[in-house]
C-alpha cells in the first residue's frame, strides 16, 4: 500500500494536480511517526510512510494547508474522512484546494498500549499479520495485534470513507461497534462511584492542551480558555473545578460535532480517557434525538443547532439510568 501511495502521489505531483502531499513521515523508531508535508518525489521516497502505526488524523492540518496556494493531496483514513467532512460542513476547509485519497485502515497499533503490557525499551515494531513483533533493548517480544490496539480502534465505528476524490484499496462499511460499553458501565455506577472515577482521571490533567490542539473539532481561532476577555481563561488547572470546567466546556463545545476519532485520548500524556466524555454526549444525542454521526453526511443539521417540538425535557435525566 505504501509503495502504491507514493507512486500515486508522485504522479499527481508530476501532472500538476497537486503541489504538495500531506502524509506520515518515518521517525527514529517505527512508532514515532510525524505528520508531514512532502513537495517532491525525493522527499516522498525518503520519508513517506503508511502502515499500521500511522495513527495521526491529518484532517485538522488541512484547515491551514487548504488556504495555501495550490492543491494539496491528503491521504485520509476512514476516521479522518469523518473529521474532514465535518470540517467542510463548518466551512473550515477549502475543499477545492484538497485532493483526497481515501486509504484503508485495519486499526492502528498504539505504542502506549504495547508499553502498558509491560514491554519496554521498544526500538522497533513491525506488524506481521495479526502479530506485532517488537524489538527492544532487552530482546525480542511479540504481541497480538488486537492487544496492541487502542480502544478507539478496537471499537472502530466505520471503515467507510465518507468523502474522497479517489479511493485506494477496498471500501469498507460502517461497523456495529461496542464503543458505548464503557460509557454505559459508568452510567450504571452510583454518582459517588462516577465522581470518584472522574476525579481520579481528571485530577491528572496537566492542562497541556494536547487534547484540544489535536482535536479536529476544536478549530476556534481563539479558544475561550486562551482568551482573557472570556472570563474563563485558564493556563493551568489550578483547582479541581478548573479541571472539570475545561473538560466539560470542551466536550460541550464539540458536542454534536465530535466524530469520535479518538485523537484526544491518543495524545493525552496522562492517559485520561477523554473520549469517554465525548462519547457520553454522542450516546445521549443518539438516544434522545435520534442516531447522529458527526461528519457522516454534509447536510444534516448538528443536533445542538436544531430541535423538535417533541424533544425530551431536561428532567429526563432525573429519570434516566445512572442513578442506581
Amino acid at each position: 500500500m505504501q509503495r502504491e501511495m507514493i507512486e500515486r502521489a508522485k504522479a499527481l505531483l508530476a501532472d500538476g494536480t497537486v503541489n504538495r502531499v500531506i502524509g506520515w513521515k518515518a521517525g527514529e523508531f517505527d512508532y514515532d511517526i510525524t505528520p508531514a508535508v512532502f513537495t517532491t518525489a525525493e522527499e516522498l521516497d525518503a520519508g513517506f510512510l503508511y502502515n499500521d502505526l500511522c495513527a495521526a488524523n491529518l484532517s485538522k492540518y488541512l484547515i491551514k494547508e487548504s488556504r495555501k496556494e495550490g492543491k494539496i493531496l491528503a491521504f485520509l483514513k476512514p476516521c479522518d474522512t469523518y473529521s474532514f467532512s465535518q470540517l467542510l460542513k463548518e466551512h473550515r476547509i477549502w475543499r477545492d484546494h484538497v485532493y483526497v485519497i481515501g486509504v484503508p485502515c485495519e486499526g492502528k497499533v498504539d505504542v502506549d498500549t504495547v508499553k502498558s503490557k509491560g514491554i519496554t525499551g521498544i526500538c522497533s515494531m513491525r506488524c506481521d499479520g495479526e502479530t506485532v513483533r517488537v524489538e527492544t533493548l532487552y530482546g525480542e517480544e511479540s504481541i497480538k495485534k488486537d492487544e496492541a490496539m487502542a480502544d478507539r480502534c478496537l471499537n472502530c465505528k466505520s471503515k467507510k470513507h465518507v468523502v474522497y476524490d479517489e479511493l485506494m484499496g477496498e471500501e469498507g462499511d460502517v461497523l456495529d461497534s461496542h464503543r458505548f460499553d464503557m460509557v454505559e458501565k459508568l452510567e450504571n455506577m452510583t454518582p459517588d462511584e462516577r465522581f470518584a472515577f472522574w476525579r481520579g482521571e481528571l485530577s491528572r490533567c496537566i492542562r497541556c492542551n494536547a487534547c484540544r490542539n489535536v482535536c479536529p473539532a476544536c478549530t476556534c481561532e481563539k479558544c475561550v480558555f486562551d482568551n482573557d476577555a472570556s472570563g474563563i481563561a485558564q493556563k493551568a488547572a489550578v483547582d479541581s473545578f478548573e479541571e472539570n470546567m475545561f473538560h466539560i466546556i470542551r466536550a460541550f463545545h464539540v458536542a454534536g460535532r465530535c466524530t469520535d476519532c479518538g485523537e484526544c485520548s491518543r495524545v493525552c500524556p496522562q492517559n485520561i480517557p477523554l473520549h469517554l466524555l465525548n462519547r457520553k454526549f454522542i450516546k445521549d444525542i443518539d438516544e434522545l434525538y435520534g442516531e447522529y454521526q458527526a461528519g457522516a453526511d454534509p447536510d444534516t443539521k448538528p443536533p445542538l443547532n436544531t430541535f423538535t417540538q417533541e424533544d425530551a425535557e431536561p428532567s429526563v435525566i432525573y429519570e434516566r439510568g445512572g442513578n442506581k
Binding site: 463548518e90 478549530t219 476556534c220 475561550v224 472570563g231
Partner: protein, 663 residues
C-alpha cells in the same frame, strides 16, 4: 472605572416596609466605582427622576443603578431620564427589589441583605456596560395582507385609503372569503353579498390595491419595515390581463362534473370556472386536476372559444418577490372536519349538513337557487333539527375546547329564516347554552323563540340514525324537562366548530409569529395590543386570531389597518440596540450561529484580513444584521469561541452578575 450612582426607591412603603432602604444605600456606597448613593420615596416620580438627573450631572456619573420595582415597569422611565441628563440610556441598570424582594420576603434583615446583593449584582453589571446606540432602519411604504376575506379586504381598503400601496394575497381564485358564501347576516338580516361585493369591487378598483388571487406566500425574510416576501402565483392557465370574465369557456367546457367548492360540493362546476358571478378578479381559472387538455393533452375547447385569447395551457407557477414594511395576517377560518363525529351521521346521510352548507341551500345563488330542499331527494323538509356546539366547547378531545362564538347567532338566524319562509316547518334547536352577548343579539334570539316559534331545547343530541324512509331519527335529551326525545327529522344542521385555516401554521413559522395550541395567532398583548403579533411588523386581522363575527372582524381589520398606517407613516424605525455582535477576529465562520438564528439575521462574508504575522488571509466571518436581530442570544451559546456576544447582556456582564450574587 465607571462612576456609578445608586438610587434606592422606597416605593412608598412597598419597598421600605420590608427593606431597610437606608442600610442598602449605605452598603452599596462602598462598592467599587460607586460615587453616589441615595434613597428616595418615589424614584419614578418627577422629583425622583430629577434626583437621578442632578446626580448624573453633579457627580459626572457614567453608570446608574436604580434599586426599585421590576425593570419591566420603569426601566424605560429611568433610561429616558438618564438620556435627558446626557447619559447614554443603556448605562442604566435596575435592581428589582420590589417584586423580587420586598413583596415576597417578610423578614427585614433577610430582605435587606438580598436587596444589597441584588444591588451589587446590578453594580457589577453596570461596570461592564457600554453606551449603546440604537440603529435605524428604513420603512418600505407598502403593506401585505395575507388573506382576502372580509378581514383582509377591510384592512387593505383602510390602508389604501390612507394612501399606502397594499397587496392582497389570496389562495382562492377570488377574494371575498367565507362571507361570499353566506346568505343573510345577523342580526340585521341584510344580504351578505350586498354588503360585501361592493367592497370587493372597491378593492379591485383602488389604485393602491393590488390583488394576487390564486396565490400563496412561500417565503418571508426580513423584519419590521423591511420584509421580503416571495409570492407564488399559481398557474391558472388563463391570462388574467386578457380574460374578460365573459364565461363562455365555462359554458363550453365539456368537463362539467367537478364538485363545486363554492357550494361545498352540493352541485358541480366545469373544469374551467369562475367561482361565482361577482368574483374579483372576475377571471376564469382552469382546474388542472380535471381539465382534459392539461391532463391528457386532448380538448382545448376553451382556447378555441375564447375570443380574448386568454387561455394559456403552458402557464407555469410564477414566483415573485416583493418588499413590504408591514404584514397583516388575515387567513381566516374553516369549519372543522366532522369525521370524528360519527354519531351525527354526517358522512352517512346527505341530509345531515353543516351550517355553512345550509347557508348555500338558502342562498339565491346556491345549488337550489335559494329554495330550501333536502340534498338527498330535493324535497322540502318539514322537520329540521339544528345541533349546536358540534365540536365546540368539547373537552372529549374530538373537537375544540373553545367556543366558536358565532354559532348561536347564525343558528338563530337560520331557524328564524326557515320559519319565516316555510311556516309549515318544525324547527328544533339543541343547545348547551345560548350565548348572545352583542348589540341586538339577545333580542334577535328572543324573536326566534318568541315570534317565530323555534323550539329551543337545552340538551345534546346523542345519535342521529338515517331511516329507511329517508328521515333521520334524532335521539336527544331535554335537560330541562329531564327526558329523552326522539324526533324524526327531514334535515339536520350541524353547527360545526370553526378552526384556523390550515395555511396559518406554516405561515406563522415563516413569519416567526407565535401561535396558541389551537393554531390561532397570538396577539402581542391580550388586552392592550390585540391586533399586533409579538413579531414586530406583523399584525392580525379577523378570525386568524380567534373566532369572531363579521362586525368584530371588520373592526379588528380597521384597527390592524390603523396600526399598519402608523408604522408606514414613519420614515425610519429605531432598532433595539441590545443585539448580537460578532468579533470577526475570533469568528471561525462555522455557521453554528446562523443555524440557530430564528430571524435569519446572520450572514457570512469572505473578508480579507491583515493577520498579526503580517500575512493576508481570507476568512469567512459572521455578520449580524442589527436591524433584523431581536437579541435573543441563541447564537451566543451556539458559538464555541465566544466571538458572538450580546450587547447589553454580554457574557462578561452576566458572569459579573453571577459572581456578585454568589459572593
Amino acid at each position: 472605572m465607571q462612576r456609578i450612582g445608586v438610587f434606592i426607591c422606597h416605593c412608598g412603603t412597598n419597598i421600605a416596609a420590608t427593606v431597610d432602604v437606608k442600610a442598602v444605600a449605605e452598603a452599596l456606597k462602598h462598592e467599587p466605582g460607586v460615587v453616589f448613593s441615595t434613597d428616595y420615596p418615589y424614584m419614578c416620580s418627577e422629583a425622583g427622576q430629577n434626583i437621578v438627573k442632578d446626580a448624573i450631572r453633579d457627580y459626572h456619573l457614567s453608570g446608574v443603578v436604580i434599586c426599585s420595582c421590576s425593570p419591566r415597569m420603569h426601566e424605560a422611565t429611568f433610561r429616558k431620564a438618564a438620556a435627558v441628563a446626557g447619559l447614554n440610556p443603556y448605562m442604566v441598570e435596575i435592581a428589582n427589589i420590589r417584586e423580587q424582594c420586598s413583596w415576597i420576603h417578610k423578614d427585614i434583615p433577610q430582605a435587606t441583605e438580598k436587596a444589597i446583593t441584588l444591588g451589587k449584582a446590578a453594580i457589577a453589571k453596570v461596570h461592564l456596560n457600554a453606551p449603546l446606540y440604537a440603529g435605524e432602519s428604513p420603512v418600505v411604504k407598502r403593506a401585505l395582507v395575507i388573506g382576502g376575506g372580509i378581514a383582509g379586504i377591510q384592512t387593505a381598503l383602510d390602508i389604501a385609503d390612507a394612501g399606502f400601496p397594499v397587496d392582497i394575497v389570496e389562495t382562492k381564485p377570488t377574494i371575498g372569503g367565507k362571507m361570499t358564501q353566506l346568505d343573510k347576516t345577523f342580526p340585521t338580516l341584510d344580504c351578505a353579498a350586498c354588503i360585501l361585493t361592493p367592497k370587493m369591487v372597491d378593492c379591485a378598483q383602488n389604485e393602491n390595491i393590488k390583488i394576487y388571487s390564486y396565490s400563496e406566500v412561500t417565503d418571508v425574510k426580513g423584519f419590521v419595515g423591511n420584509f421580503t416576501v416571495t409570492i407564488k402565483r399559481k398557474a391558472r392557465y388563463v391570462d388574467e390581463t386578457k380574460c374578460t370574465g365573459c364565461g363562455i369557456c365555462t359554458e363550453k367546457c365539456p368537463m362539467k362534473k367537478v364538485p363545486n367548492e363554492f357550494n361545498l360540493g352540493m352541485n358541480n362546476r366545469s373544469a374551467v370556472y369562475i367561482p361565482f358571478a361577482q368574483a374579483v378578479p372576475k377571471v376564469a381559472t382552469i382546474d388542472p386536476e380535471h381539465c382534459n387538455m392539461l391532463k391528457k393533452g386532448k380538448c382545448g375547447l376553451c382556447a378555441k372559444v375564447c375570443t380574448a385569447g386568454a387561455i394559456d395551457y403552458k402557464q407555469k407557477d410564477e414566483f415573485i418577490e416583493e418588499q413590504y414594511g408591514a404584514i397583516v395576517v388575515a387567513t381566516g377560518y374553516n369549519p372543522i372536519n366532522l369525521d370524528k363525529f360519527d354519531e351525527f351521521a354526517y358522512s352517512q346521510s346527505k341530509d345531515v349538513i353543516t351550517s355553512l352548507e345550509f347557508e348555500r341551500l338558502t342562498n339565491a345563488a346556491g345549488p337550489t337557487s335559494g329554495t330550501l330542499l333536502r340534498p338527498s331527494d330535493g324535497k322540502h323538509p318539514h322537520t329540521i333539527v339544528f345541533v349546536q356546539c358540534v365540536g365546540s366547547r368539547d373537552t372529549s378531545g374530538c373537537g375544540k375546547e373553545y367556543c366558536s362564538k358565532i354559532c348561536c347567532m347564525y343558528t338563530a338566524k337560520h331557524a328564524m329564516l326557515t320559519r319565516e319562509k316555510y311556516p309549515d316547518t318544525d324547527v328544533y334547536v339543541f343547545y348547551i347554552d345560548v350565548r348572545t352577548p352583542g348589540k341586538s343579539f339577545d333580542e334577535f334570539y328572543r324573536r326566534a323563540v318568541e315570534q317565530y316559534g323555534v323550539h329551543y331545547i337545552k340538551g345534546m343530541v346523542g345519535k342521529i340514525v338515517p331511516q329507511a324512509d329517508g328521515t333521520l331519527a334524532v335521539q336527544a335529551s331535554d335537560l330541562l324537562d329531564n327526558k329523552q326525545l326522539h324526533i324524526n327529522a327531514d334535515l339536520v344542521v350541524l353547527a360545526a366548530a370553526i378552526e384556523p385555516d390550515k395555511s396559518a401554521r406554516p405561515l406563522a413559522t415563516m413569519l416567526t409569529a407565535s401561535m396558541d395550541t389551537n393554531d390561532f395567532f397570538t396577539e402581542a398583548h391580550p388586552k392592550l395590543r390585540p391586533v399586533e403579533s409579538p413579531t414586530a411588523g406583523v399584525f392580525l386581522s379577523g378570525t386568524c386570531q380567534g373566532p369572531k363575527d363579521i362586525p368584530e372582524t371588520v373592526s379588528q381589520a380597521g384597527a390592524a389597518a390603523s396600526k399598519v398606517i402608523g408604522l408606514l407613516c414613519k420614515d425610519k424605525l429605531t432598532c433595539n440596540p441590545c443585539v448580537a455582535h460578532s468579533d470577526e477576529w475570533m469568528c471561525n465562520g462555522c455557521s453554528a450561529c446562523e443555524k440557530v438564528c430564528p430571524y435569519g439575521a446572520i450572514t457570512y462574508e469572505d473578508k480579507e484580513f491583515r493577520m498579526p504575522d503580517r500575512t493576508t488571509a481570507i476568512r469567512r466571518v459572521a455578520i449580524v444584521n442589527e436591524a433584523v436581530c431581536q437579541g435573543c442570544g441563541a447564537c451566543t451559546v451556539a458559538c464555541p469561541s465566544g466571538a458572538m456576544d450580546l450587547k447589553g447582556f454580554s457574557n462578561s456582564q452576566i458572569m459579573a452578575e453571577v459572581d456578585a450574587i454568589c459572593k
